[in-house]
């Protein structure tokens, strides 16, 4: 089949971008969406035009590298499917598809469909961990985790950090991402000692980035390729209230993550 692609081309963060239209012939229904772009890029290189930059790696839907917006939908029209797992059999001959990068102030465009998602790492730095220095761990069998808690933690931990939730949100909020990590760690017995501090610090770090606020549109849940549910955001809000009202011996120190630390190599 043949496809018409309207693709966002942008040389770098500081240069204005624009849409450019390409036609791809001989698209096989068995190709993945990214393989279709590989074909386009091989063709572009043959014609002396620079190929379209897009992020990708495992092509199995687990690394979280890939992702762009197809006709307004992050990762395209199939639910619970990353673009690398989206196959061309779900498109028709002659379709016109518009491809653009995640649109969010917190995710500046690096080039074409590639964005900078390092804001997510800074949220994790603020508290998305359980302090467990290597060597200090107790015997694993000594920690009992109720199955329900373990399953909830696992449901939340399946987040791949792709950023589709932010791209789908009209406010470009990072609540689904942040709530997934908070739910993962706060559900477990091992996560209890740092629970309040983690919740406050991660939400504070999130607010320091250029993400918007959550207003319960639930677009994030619909776009999430891993099916992270909206209820985790409600859980995050409950934990925030808990942290605010929980008695602490001393006020909890809310650490502000350094915003956009200078990149040494630039």
């Amino acid at each position: 089949m043949k496809l018409n692609l309207r693709i966002w081309r942008q040389k770098d963060t500081d240069t204005a971008g624009r849409f450019v239209t390409y036609q791809v012939d001989e698209v096989s229904p068995d190709m993945s969406f990214l393989e279709m772009l590989d074909v386009l890029n091989e063709d572009l290189i043959g014609r002396g035009e620079e190929p379209v930059a897009f992020e990708h790696d495992c092509r199995e839907g687990i690394c979280g590298s890939c992702g762009f917006v197809i006709n307004g939908m992050p990762h395209g029209p199939r639910r619970h499917t990353t673009v690398c797992q989206l196959h061309m059999r779900f498109f028709k001959d002659g379709d016109c598809l518009t491809l653009e990068p995640w649109r969010a102030q917190a995710f500046p465009v690096v080039r074409d469909l590639v964005v900078d998602r390092s804001a997510f790492d800074r949220i994790i730095q603020a508290g998305g961990y359980i302090t467990a220095p290597t060597g200090a761990a107790p015997e694993a069998g000594a920690i009992l985790v109720p199955k329900e808690a373990a399953d909830t933690a696992m449901d939340a931990a399946t987040c791949i950090g792709c950023g589709a939730c932010v791209a789908a949100c009209p406010n470009a909020a990072a609540m689904l991402f942040t709530s997934a990590k908070i739910t993962h760690l706060n559900s477990l017995p091992q996560g209890q000692p740092e629970r309040d501090e983690r919740t406050l610090n991660m939400t504070a770090a999130m607010a320091l980035e250029d993400f918007g606020s959550c207003s319960n549109h639930a677009e994030c849940e619909a776009a999430c390729p891993k099916g992270i549910p909206l209820e985790f955001i409600a859980g995050l809000n409950r934990d925030l209230i808990r942290a605010a009202f929980h008695r602490h011996r001393e006020p909890l120190a809310v650490v502000a993550a350094p915003r956009h630390p200078a990149h040494e190599d630039t």
Binding site: D30, I45, D57, Q85, R111, Q125, P138, D151, Q190
Partner: protein, 660 residues
């Protein structure tokens, strides 16, 4: 067994292999004493660095997968000044994330007879007696600490209703020692290491360099003292000075172009280190996994693994007739060849991975393969559905059938699956001693990047174990020992060695941009992959390997003359990144073939057609090949020098593996 001496290469290899100028002693530094005390003894003999002095030492860790992230985080916790480098946009993308099945540990929570000794034994035997006993024993010992560490970090392993950790059996062993987190164990272990790493980044002990690719190693006065990197976003070339360099950059299965590895997985870091003097251990040892979704066309970019458990109930067959055009369900029973059941009546479809893979290739080479290009065999569940009922099959394998349908569009409940083997792990890698140090002092290698613990074949659920063992426990003990014992001169990036290495990096990058030829990088990579698959894949022959050794330099030459890389060096240029990696694959491929050619025995994943039992199984030659082959770089176009580290087996008796 602490030393290994380079022996004179066999006379018949004179034309491929250079004789080293003088015998080089490869000291594996395996501690003396009983096997269960070796690691304790090694740790006690180590020198320590005073906590106040640790921050004065800079450690460069390249790679942020299980081994790299775990090592960087742990060394950061200890107080060292750590720099961690990843070509990804964030350390969480490393390919460890894609591992599915699980991680082995000798916890014996099942009370089913497991022990550290049994895990050690299984590993040595599974590796077809080409791994070091001392390393394999240490791996089994540390396996129990890994589970403790990961649970403490909050890795959500599967639990039973009492809240205890679940385990399952895996890879044909007789005990249930595999811990897992659904089908995403690698993801959860990596996120645990990533979170520990991010905590250290937040604390300022680790400086992270994302989108930064190592392009060379700098060696000064015989010691590894730094690396040269390219910032993938700006193209800037930089020098980084350190007291120690740790490479944890994964394996090189992408030399085959099509593999289960992630697209960006590459050999550049270890290959550059090899060119600077680090010996390469057993480069030909690769593992080919039998159950992957086959290629559907020329455009195919990678292969996806399907759990091997499918072979428990699926029956593997191809049509008896060559060039069969009917659909699978239209082919009557009498015209189907259940070739594994026919050739291996006792094991049937459950023969080991290497046998299943090799047989699939053979029937496809005969022209009886199915699907596009004839690269596939059927895995049929019709009989199982009849026997167990549709619901039971759905319950056992539902998620795998769903993955299959997502990719192929076929409903495997109605039509047989098509599967084909694919490369997915390289047991070979940089040669390291017991301390995981390469032949360059100060250069360490961990995880899949080194050759150490798996021998000629890796058992399932052992890769995660090795990566975390190296990263959390071994490197954080051995790297400080090196620092405490070594006098390091002050150097800075203005040192001539750094300036020259930077210049060399530019001299490699610029010609790629200026060649302006007619072929794309991928077209070369595909051609190399096909060549390697045909001649250095599942079945290797003297004639085929010689042909490959002859063709690879020609292809390499054409690549440098005729490749087309558009754009500039000073920007995000994904084609340029790929071109640099393919240039290195074009070199490592030749070494793999040379190693495969010299090892005329079959062992584990290395199958030489000349060396098989009458039943067609791998036949080892312990009299001549019971050693690690460590290759030394002699220059491009020059035959590499072979050094041997003899392997001795005091606990696990050398025996021919039998599947009868």
């Amino acid at each position: 067994m602490s030393t290994a001496i380079a022996l004179t290469p066999a006379a018949r290899l004179k034309d491929q292999v250079a004789v080293p100028q003088e015998p080089v002693v490869l000291d594996a530094r395996i501690p003396p004493g009983p096997i269960e005390q070796k690691w304790d003894r090694c740790r006690f003999d180590m020198k320590l660095v005073n906590p106040a002095n640790r921050r004065r030492h800079t450690i460069l860790v390249v790679g942020s997968g299980l081994a790299g992230a775990a090592a960087a985080a742990t060394l950061g916790e200890q107080g060292y000044h750590v720099h961690c480098f990843s070509f990804h946009d964030t350390p969480r993308r490393a390919h460890s994330i894609a591992a599915q099945g699980g991680i082995n540990a000798a916890k014996n929570y099942r009370n089913d007879g497991d022990s550290i000794y049994r895990l050690f034994y299984d590993t040595v035997k599974g590796g077809d007696f080409r791994a070091r006993e001392g390393n394999a024993y240490r791996l089994a010992q540390i396996s129990v600490n890994i589970i403790d560490q990961c649970v403490a970090q909050g890795v959500p392993f599967a639990r039973d209703y009492g809240g205890l950790l679940e385990t399952r059996s895996f890879g044909g062993v007789q005990v249930e020692r595999t811990f897992y987190a659904r089908g995403q164990t690698g993801q959860q272990l990596l996120l645990g290491a990533y979170q520990a790493l991010e905590q250290q980044i937040g604390a300022g002990t680790v400086t992270m360099h994302p989108r930064t690719e190592m392009l060379d190693l700098v060696v000064i006065d015989g010691q590894a003292r730094g690396i040269i990197t390219r910032n993938l976003r700006t193209g800037a070339i930089h020098s980084h000075v350190g007291d120690v360099v740790v490479l944890a950059t994964g394996g090189y299965s992408n030399v085959f172009y099509l593999s289960t590895n992630a697209k960006a997985s590459n050999c550049t870091a270890i290959w550059r280190a090899h060119r600077r003097g680090a010996h390469f251990g057993n480069p030909c040892y690769t593992q080919i996994h039998p159950t992957c979704i086959p290629q559907s066309g020329e455009y195919q970019s990678k292969l996806v693994l399907m759990s091997e458990s499918l072979r428990n109930d699926g029956r593997i067959w191809v049509p008896k007739k060559k060039g069969e055009t009917r659909r699978a369900n239209d082919i009557p029973e009498g015209e189907r060849d259940y070739y594994l059941e026919r050739r291996y009546p006792s094991f049937g479809n459950l023969v080991p991975r290497d046998v299943a893979s090799r047989n699939a290739k053979e029937v496809c080479d005969e022209g009886r393969g199915v699907g596009p290009g004839g690269h596939g065999v059927y895995l049929d569940f019709r009989e199982a559905i009849g026997r167990l009922g549709l619901d039971n099959v759905r319950e056992k394998y539902g998620n795998l059938f769903e993955i299959y349908e997502r990719i192929t569009g076929d409903n495997a409940y109605d039509v047989p699956m098509r599967i084909y083997p694919a490369p997915h792990y390289t047991m070979g890698g940089l040669w390291v001693d017991y301390h995981l140090m390469t032949t360059i002092p100060g250069l360490f290698a961990g995880g899949e990047a080194n050759f150490s613990d798996q021998g000629a074949n890796r058992l399932g659920a052992s890769a995660l174990m090795q990566g975390l063992s190296d990263g959390y426990f071994i490197l954080p003990a051995t790297v400080p020992d090196y620092l405490a014992r070594t006098k390091l001169e002050r150097v800075d990036p203005s040192h001539l060695a750094f300036l020259e290495a930077e210049k060399e990096v530019r001299q490699r990058t610029e010609p790629l941009l200026n060649a302006n030829g007619r072929r794309t990088v991928d077209s070369f990579h595909r051609e190399l992959g096909r060549l390697m698959w045909d001649h250095c894949g599942m079945a290797r022959s003297d004639a085929g390997l010689r042909q490959a050794v002859g063709k690879i330099p020609e292809l390499r030459e054409e690549f440098h003359e005729n490749v087309r890389v558009l754009g500039a060096g000073e920007e995000l240029n994904q084609t340029l990144e790929k071109a640099g990696r393919v240039a290195d694959f074009l070199e490592v491929a030749e070494l793999m073939c040379t190693d495969a050619l010299h090892r005329t025995e079959s062992c584990g994943g290395h199958f030489r057609v000349e060396s098989q039992t009458p039943e067609g199984e791998a036949l080892r030659d312990d009299a001549n090949f019971c050693y690690v082959a460590a290759w030394e770089w002699q220059g491009l176009g020059q035959a590499p020098a072979l050094h041997k580290e003899p392997l001795t087996f005091e606990h696990v008796h050398l025996a021919q593996r039998s599947y009868k």
